[in-house]
Symmetry: C2
Subunit: 395 residues, 2 copies
């Protein structure tokens, strides 16, 4: 497996484009084939989530996706659902596709009716430049951004020649539960929808579901994985393992990009919990650490306040015993052991610890010393800018 | 029932005092009688929590409590437990009490050894002025403060003459689970420990367990309720109901004081969820609303971003259907209905809504329209000052 350029357009059979106009963005991705999806578990579900979930559950394939940013089309009732359907039929008419194989996604303000005429006005411009260049992938990734400051794309080529590429957006209202934010992933492997579905669920659990920016689960989370089958390569069993690992790799890259671009973030936090009795214990503890406002503010303040880390693990619900906990902090090439089996390391190097806290990427490793299971979660620090962005966001 | 002055010292048989010296505070409360307690469910449990829980579980009575602020005596291993025992025996020797009926509580930095010699040095000064005046209650309430900006005490007298008084501290690391922060409550009703225990659990569930400042559950949460029996009044069944309601009243007052004094807070948020099928649904939704960083920052920004409120309820785990939700916001004497059975109220008065958001106390009422159960949760906004306080807290 190697990283490649080109985002989703590196995958054979995918064309895309997007534009931003004032507060609204429109992206279209054209890619026909078997497909799988995961969606938000928020009970207040946006109309496009309901529509796209219906398409996937019924047909297990997609022909295209149309996405708008600037308005979430969430909590908009029957009108909102009709608007989402209108977006799908607009695209299908223009490109001569089956309307019920078009997925729709939206992101932005909740509880406000979509300006469908604006989408109708902008769509021809998007479709005129639909293409398969790296710039096309970037244009689509840019069009779906809201408070994001950077585009998020990732692509790899497997040893067998199959490619996987994905774009995503997400910066706030981020604590995924099953699906997350918006992510559109593509492959050209010749695999049926049920294989995509299984691979997607495994990958999401290890990546997007381990990301916390602020602990708010969105109403619009959606990840779609479509295969164009255009590589003509039908993966063997071994290649399928490789496919799974590569999908996890691509998603991990996007998750890190989202954590780095978390609203107001100045630092990336990676929490590795090892030595858990059960996998779920490792997951709970790792997520609690990156979710804790006190851990997040301490890291923003470059303060190695490790008491907050063990406190977060302690209330996470994970099975643990404080006498067994070992904790270290690392950043760059440096690492400091703070706690060893419940005992505070008396002799740790405070100067080195302070140097570690200056790093952009802080890695927390917590060993529960109870078993073999492990999990990693990602998050960002909590800063003045998170407050500014979210207190001044105009509704 | 009526509110009275004097805090814990209004309760017959209670004497107290406290002093603050630099970063450390010491409080002593002398009150002999049957007692009950609730304690943090954080698996990383501070030494004084372990000790005091042992005292309550074994003897179901207390003679006194000794509290220090400035150091949590948490994650301090066997040494920490010996230090907590030392605090108890120091007090018992000075006042000729049974050491194993003395409770100990600590609050402050986690993972640092307690300066026991400092406590030994300060204790005589505290004991010299031990008394039952309102100022003594205030001195104790002040001595246990950390980042708190105001003392927190409340007291009532029941119609039957029984009194209940309590002091508390807590400003950050607050999302109680069973017990919370530190709270010392007293009554002079002639009731046994099992009655106190039952009343305490009911009251805590409706009050302290419905408070969220930042979502971090402390390692040191503890609430102790002791009866001095000094009123000589043994409540009848009807009076016991009154006792329960009065205890809830006293705790609610303290919870509101804590929310108002939440780290960096500029506003008090009260989330009332009504019309739930099950009580647990109402609790989950109400707590999710006051926990949501996005709701908290919106309220700080005086922005009526109600989409974030329904989104928080949606991911809370509560059973709800978006088509049934009704939502209103109120502040001062004004109220605006925003959503009625899933439909956005087209005609609401935006000017009035903006006026409401200027209020210090914002009340959110969410009707699930599915049943008769209800719950109320309290919290505060999330502000620049929360970040400043917690990023600059020196370890």
């Amino acid at each position: 497996m190697k990283q490649i350029e080109g985002g989703i357009c590196s995958v054979r059979g995918v064309s895309a484009n997007g534009i931003k106009a004032e507060k609204m963005g429109i992206a279209v991705i054209l890619a026909e084939g078997p497909a799988a999806g995961v969606f938000t578990q928020n009970k207040v579900t946006a109309a496009p989530v309901t529509l796209s979930k219906g398409v996937i559950d019924t047909h297990h394939r997609l022909s295209a996706v149309i996405v708008n940013s600037g308005n979430a089309n969430a909590f908009t009732g029957d009108d909102g659902f009709l608007d989402a359907m209108e977006m799908a039929s607009m695209l299908s008419e223009n490109l001569d596709l089956d309307a019920d194989t078009v997925a729709v996604a939206s992101t932005g303000v909740i509880g406000r009716r979509l300006d469908i005429s604006k989408i109708r006005e902008l769509l021809p411009e998007v479709l005129a430049e639909l293409g398969s260049t790296p710039e096309c992938s970037q244009a689509a990734a840019k069009a779906i951004m809201t408070t994001d400051k950077a585009i998020k794309e990732s692509a790899v080529e497997l040893d067998c020649g199959v490619r996987i590429g994905a774009i995503a957006k997400g910066s706030g209202m981020i604590e995924p539960n099953m699906g997350t934010m918006l992510c559109f992933a593509y492959t050209d492997a010749k695999v049926p929808a049920d294989v995509l579905d299984a691979a997607l669920k495994v990958a999401v659990q290890k990546t997007f579901n381990m990301l916390v920016v602020d602990g708010d689960t969105s109403t619009n989370d959606m990840i779609l994985l479509t295969s164009t089958c255009k590589s003509g390569i039908k993966p063997c069993m071994e290649c399928l393992d490789d496919f799974q690992e590569s999908l996890i790799y691509v998603f991990t890259e996007l998750v890190k990009k989202m954590a780095k671009d978390g609203e107001g973030a100045t630092k990336l936090i990676e929490a590795r919990v090892v030595g858990a009795k059960k996998h779920e214990d490792a997951r709970l503890a790792a997520k609690a650490i990156v979710r804790s406002p006190l851990v997040k503010t301490a890291i923003f303040g470059k303060d190695p306040n490790w008491g907050r880390i063990v406190a977060a693990a302690g209330y996470s619900g994970a099975e643990l015993e404080q006498e067994r906990l070992s904790l270290s902090l690392s950043g760059g090439e440096e690492k400091v052991e703070l706690v060893d089996c419940g005992e505070i390391s008396e002799s740790f190097d405070l100067a080195l610890l302070k140097k570690i806290m200056e790093n952009y990427e802080i890695v927390i490793t917590l060993d529960l010393n109870m078993g073999e299971e492990h999990a990693t979660a990602w998050g960002c620090d909590l800063t003045y800018d998170y407050i500014r962005i979210n207190a001044e966001y105009t509704t």
